[in-house]
Each structure stands twice: as C-alpha cells, then as structure tokens.
Amino acid sequence: MSDFIPSGTGTQAGWRAGLQKIGGNLAGMVIPNIGAFIAWGLLTALFIPTGWLPNEEFSSMVGPMILNLLPILIGYTGGRIVHGQRGAVIGAIATVGVIVGTDIPMFLGAMIIGPLMAWILKYIDKVLDPITPVGFEMLIGNFSLGIAGMLGSLLGFLAIGPIVSAITTVLGNGVSWLVDNGVLPIASVLIEPAKILFMNNAINHGVLGPLGVVQAEETGKSILFMLETNPGPGLGILLAFWLAGPKILRGSAPGAIIIHFLGGIHEIYFPYVLMRPLVVVAAILGGATGVATFMVTGVGLVATPSPGSIFAYMAVTPPGNHLGVLLGIALSAAVSFVVGWFILRLSKVDATEADFEAAKKRTKDLKAGK
C-alpha cells in the first residue's frame, strides 16, 4: 500500500473504557462460543417444521441446545475468565440451577452467575490455600468446588433465575412495545454511535443477542439479531469514503469494503467515521432505514449472524425471509452512502487541506525518526 494513513493522538479513558470493560466481559463470555451458536442456528434453520428440510428427530436437538448447552457454555466461559478452569467448572454447575429455575433461554442469568460463582470460589481458594495440609490439596480442592458449586446451583435456582427471568420479561415487553408502535428504528440513534465507539460486541452479544434468543425460541426468528449486525450502513459509508472521502483514505476503502461486508469485521469502518465524526449521521439514518425495512417486511434471523458478514446473514435467514433481509441491507447501504457522500462533499475543501498538512507533518516526523 503506497499511502499510509496518519494516526490521531491520545488514548481513550474514563467512562468509555469503563463501559467497554463491562461490555467486553459480556461479549467475552459469548464470542468464544459462537461456533456452538452457529451449529444451533443451522440446525434450527434446516430442521424445524418451518425450516428448509423439516425433520422431527433432528429438530429435537434444537431445544436442549438453546436452553441447556448454550447457557452452560456461557456460564462456563464467564467463570473461566474470572478464575481459570476451576472457575469455569463452578460457573457451569451454577448455570444449571439458573436454567432449571426458568423456562426461557437463560443467557443473561448465565452471564451473571458464572462469573459470580467463580469470583466466590476464587476467594474460598484464597482462604483454604494457606491452611491446606500437604497431601490434602486434591481432597480439599475437589470438595470445596463441589460444595460451593452445589450451593451456587441452589442460589441460581432460587434467586438469580427468577430475577433475571423477570428482567428479561420486562425488557422483552419493552422491545415488543417498540416494535408494535413502529418506533424500533429509533434504536439506531443509540446503536450506531455506540458501535463506532467499539461497543459493538457489548451491544450485540451482551444485550440484543440474549433478548433475541428468547424471541427466536418462541417465534422461530427475531429482528433483534439484526439491529447491530446489519452490514448495510458500514458498506454505504465505506463506499462514500471511497468516492468522496479525503484522498488519503480512498486508497484503503475498497479493501475495507471486502473485509467489512464479506468478512464481517465491522471494526474496520469505525476509524473512518471517527476521522469524520459527522458521518455518524449517515450510519444512524442507514441503520434506521434497515430496521424499518426489516420491520415492515416482517423478517428476522434465527440466530446472531457473527461475524456480521453477508454470508453469515444469509446462513441464518429462515426460508421466505431472504428478500426482506436483502432489501433492508441494500436500502440501509444506499441511505448511508447518499447521506455520507453529501456530508463528505460538503466538508471537503478545508478537510482535505488540513489532512494533507497533518499527513505531511507526520511524514516529516517519520523521516526524523520520532
């Protein structure tokens, strides 16, 4: 690549880092398990009665996977983040209590009890470690985990499960209200700017995904999987940068389009928007257009498309929904492109000059070895 793009300065601190950390931990429990979500999503898309190849025997795996396997994996991974393998095991044990205590997919409950029990076990270990006599490590280690795990599963069954179930119901009702009143597209006003600030995974895997699976389990599909993952707005924005952006950014835009739209790595377009912050308006309008289209055409996905690539989208779209899904992606890309193109054109003259100066200065610094 001939042109390198100059970097900004400073780090990002404060509330953003804090929010990212919380969100990052939520996403960190889900993302390593995406493979299992895909297996479940494909089973669902293929074999449920409304799927491509309805098969009653195969589709009997769909329920146990979403209700048991996926929450346990999340609780396991959440525990592992906090306290290694022992944390993972106790996280999985306690998650079972949460699952059995309710009748909806307990993703949020698993995200709470997995790390919580691992954290408690970490402290139990800290206390027991110095007083464990030589030769009793295994006995005490196994039984401290076993007893704490049993108590944790009771805690999950009696407290966490019902509480999270109630919260999920409230949030789910809130989303239904937004859909019924046709105001769901407004969600893009929050989602698109937050995405650009690298909270994309937190929003999708931490909030929308867990609510989406509850809906998908009831109705076979959910629009919530599409709010954050729609690759349309990013595609439109990158096209706008390619054709109307600052010269220094144009060279890399086509490569970025492939990585974003086909590869599903949305992160690649965030820096472009951060350099021309007003373009976030294009993202919001494009995102809202997409959500509105999905809503009007009544489409949804059976699972989170992760990464948010067009291929992943097509794979988790249930039969009969492809047209609406593609239309929503295309319209959101078109709106983002047009709006982005105008914003970039209108702010072009002075911006290009300033960029050029900054780039020149950077190059000078580079040559001076700074």
Binding site: M1, F4, I5, G8, Q20, N25, I259, G263, R362, L366
Partner: protein, 104 residues
Amino acid sequence: MASISAADVRNIVVACEAGMGSSVMVARQLAKQLKKLEISVVHAPVHELRETPHDLVLVHRGLSHRAKQAVPDSVVIIFDMFLGDLNIARLVGALESGGTISDG
C-alpha cells in the same frame, strides 16, 4: 512511559476485544511483514493480555486505555486504521532498522 529496544522484540501481541476478529486480521498482516525478522505475532483479547507472553502490545486506539491498564509496564503501540496505518508502518520500520520503541 515504557520503552524497549527493537532488537529485544521477539513476540508481539495484537489485542482486540474478543481476540477473534480484528486482532487476528491485523496480526496476520503484521506477521507477514515481520517474518524475515523472526518476530512472532499473536493475538489475544484485551482481558487476557496479562497472561499472554509478549514484548510489545499493538492495540487500536479505542481499546488503548484498557490495554495500558492491563499491562502498564509493557510498550503499547496504538493504531487507528486496520489497513495501511502509519503507526504500524512506523513500527515495522523501527523493528527493521533497530533503535528504541516506546509507547505511542
């Protein structure tokens, strides 16, 4: 402010939030560029930085504060663009020509 001599850099870790998406992409691009220097480039989630052996951390600006929190004593290089970033190009240049690399 942490710094390290270019000759001492043998392992670079690229961090992102999940350690599965953008960091893998950047790490693979960088590994290709650094192959002849025999520097290994791995990727990791930000929250596992402390457990990942490394001489130098590469992270996007959006996560830089968390990276610095996680490994305050390591050299953390910040980049903005996932393709054609000037800071990454400077890093490669510094690794090839030797000298001292510090945070930035």
